[in-house]
């Protein structure tokens, strides 16, 4: 293999590793933009992974598997939304509980399908497709144009989310709610409805991200398949300063760091692998420091993040 091809393949796997995280980051951004910090990302991903896997095995229909996965994530988000939006419960605690709950549910579902295998139809549907001509471009061809449907879907969703948040009126409403729900409410915006919608869509995306791991990466069920990807996503939401386009960059960069980790082990370079595993987190901390130092208002978290909104509060 020549070096160009090596780089291409490296990037290909980086993008694949980054994709489930990309789904989770974009889902998390939607949730945080309406002012809700959801630490249940990991739990929703696991629920999506388990149900997606089960439906894929049961029906052999890839589309149904994706919908079920998203639905499972959204169901988790619905619990979260009911507690934090309607009952105005503490967001951090609720999110943590959702993660614990989701891990348990996925383990339970997984125990029923531990002997099953992903059917051929699904495996084919989720395997990389080479786009004629474009996939022949050196490096980029492998990195972007020889990918599976999830990768493209992730890219498209991130771009759509950016457009939605920054160019549409609904996005303007959403940002207003995250910054100052009182102002949005006084403007006649239905705060509760927008919160629910965005939290549920966020959960749907997290579920999809989880299912990518369980249905496209693997052929048999593996417990705790996300292995902390949801937590990384929570950190990378900050890394991407709540911008879905930067989330693409963040997710792929993270995929690369992970890939580098494996590669380095292969080259037998004497760097402890734990150190490399730390890299994305260190990068996030560095970004946090930069955000705090630059004090640019546009890069700050939504101002009302983590606060419950109650109209009649004095």
């Amino acid at each position: 293999m020549d070096i160009i091809e090596q780089i291409g393949l490296f990037l290909q796997s980086a993008v694949q590793t980054g994709t489930p995280i990309l789904f989770a980051i974009v889902g998390g951004i939607l949730c945080e933009k309406v002012g809700h910090m959801n630490l249940g990302v990991e739990g929703m991903m696991l629920m999506g992974a388990a149900l997606g896997f089960t439906v894929a095995c049961a029906t052999g229909n890839p589309l149904l598997a994706m919908l079920a996965a998203g639905g499972a994530g959204a169901a988790g988000a619905l619990i979260y939304a009911f507690i934090t939006v309607t009952l105005r419960g503490n967001q951090v605690v609720t999110g943590l509980v959702l993660t614990i709950f989701g891990t348990g549910v996925s383990g339970l579902i997984g125990s029923f399908v531990s002997d099953k295998q992903i059917p051929q139809t699904v495996r084919e549907a989720f395997s990389p497709m080479e786009i004629p001509l474009l996939s022949d471009i050196p490096i980029l061809g492998d990195a972007l144009f020889s990918q599976d449907i999830y990768v493209w879907l992730g890219l498209i969703i991130a771009i759509l989310a950016y457009f939605y948040l920054n160019k549409t009126k609904l996005g303007l409403y959403v940002r207003a709610i995250g910054e100052n729900p009182g102002a949005a409410d006084a403007s006649g915006i239905n705060v509760t409805m927008h919160k629910y919608i965005n939290i549920l869509i966020g959960g749907f995306l997290c579920g999809l991200g989880g299912a990518y791991l369980s249905t496209a990466f693997l052929t048999t069920w593996q417990d705790n398949v996300t292995a902390g990807a949801g937590w990384i996503a929570v950190a990378l939401i900050i890394f991407s300063t709540w911008n879905p386009l930067k989330a693409i960059f963040a997710a792929y960069l993270f995929g690369m760091l992970r890939g580098l980790n494996y590669k380095m082990q292969g080259w037998e370079i004497q760097i402890p692998s734990q150190l490399l595993t730390m890299l994305p987190y260190i990068a996030t901390i560095v970004v946090l420091i930069f955000i705090a130092m630059r004090k640019k208002k546009e890069n700050q978290p939504p101002k009302a993040l983590g606060e419950s909104y109650f109209r009649e509060e004095r």
């Binding site: 303007l172 409403y173 100052n180 006084a186 403007s187 101002k303």
Partner: protein, 508 residues
Amino acid sequence: MSQPYITLNNITKSFDSVYANKDISIDVCKGEILALLGENGSGKSTLVNMLSGIYKPDSGTITIDGKEMSFSSPADAIKAGIGMVHQHFKLVDVMTASENIVLGHIKHLTTSKKRMAHHVEKLNKKYGLNVEPDKKIYNMSVSEKQAVEIMKVFYRGANVLILDEPTAVLTPQEITALFDILRKMKQQGCTIIIITHKMAEVMEISDRVTVLRKGECIGTVKTSETTPQQLTEMMVGKAVELEIERPKCCDYTSKPLLTVNSITKTNTDGVNVLNNVSFNLYGGEILGVAGIAGSGQKELCEIIAGLVKATTGSITFDGEVITGLSPRAIIKKGISMSFVPEDRLGMGLVSGMSITNNVILKSYNRNPGPFIDSKFAKKLAEQIVNDFNIYTPSVNYTVKKLSGGNIQKVLLGREIWLSPKVLITAYPVRGLDIGASYNIYHLLNEQKKKGVAVLFIGEDLDVLKSISDRLMVIHDGEIVDIVDPDSVTKEDIGLMMVGEHIRKESAQ
């Protein structure tokens, strides 16, 4: 009188068993300006919040143009043509003026900067406003923000405008401009309800006045048929003495209690927010500080209290240099600060805690051991509640649920109870009604008579002139002059506040 356009009938609303509004009935006509007058906590804001759909009344009806209304959200009120400019602006800081204005009322799917700016310009022309469409809210002055709020209401085509204390934060010129806009609206047939407790403004702008006291409607009178004195009596419930006394009890030949020596403070942007500030503060005097908001008052307080370190310069208390000491050490020496920021709660009190816990916050280290002496704490809280006439269901009530005036009394009460030797107080009467304000002036004079050195940072020039023994005027972080308040006029002080040294000019 023509048919009333808005009728509020027997409106009642309570929070945690405290009546905010009790059986209130008022009506307003088209093309009329009604002033709602009342002390803090009398229920003015609660009443208009029900009219704008923020709160739901417990009982009573709202009728607009003959139709009975039931608002379940602000969106309903907006649909009924009611627009409200809140006391605490409801704006999204990181968005531009035009984004804030169209918020909630965009007809197109996508947002276009050009289209939004176009709307803003059109409204600017129509009402003589001056809003920059692309300016971010966080870059705006208070009056600019208010203009955005008013334009928001216009944009929605409201014909009822409610203003909750619109002039509290404006300069005299800005108030004049605002009143011009209101008169223009009135001519176009709009109905305007304005909340204020500045008597002069009520007399100037309103057609009729409704007075509220402790959540009840005392009466509605025609502005042309009443006097400020009568209104004040209705508001407070008794005749009020509108004089501030100034006992002389300071010995200026003695050593000053606090000496501030060439303090300079450079902020993170490299700007000198305080520049070579030096003055003496004597026991038994009130040194008033006048200046435009943001001229370095906050920094000065924080440096004396030890919360912020000065870049250069030193502060001496009773012959001992205190610069560099921790806030706790400075409190121990007897320097106390009560700073009432614009939002009242930002500094000094923990809004989510009870009165008891807040008053004990600064004295917890007086009782030994790790436990709080809860009996003592409760007694202290009850004493402060009694001494300062704080209106609360109990001492265990959460501070943020109190009305603004009562919150300030808790803060000042705690500071005075510590029996400080130096009392720094900034805007202690901000947002307070007449009765409560005079209470606080009286308290400060009491402290002065005890030999306490009081640094009084104020806003109202009339008050500063009558309460201060000496008056220090600051501008842009520098002391313009320290004058005898009786030897200057209000206009002189105003000029000094923008940096003109009148004394030197008159001497030449």
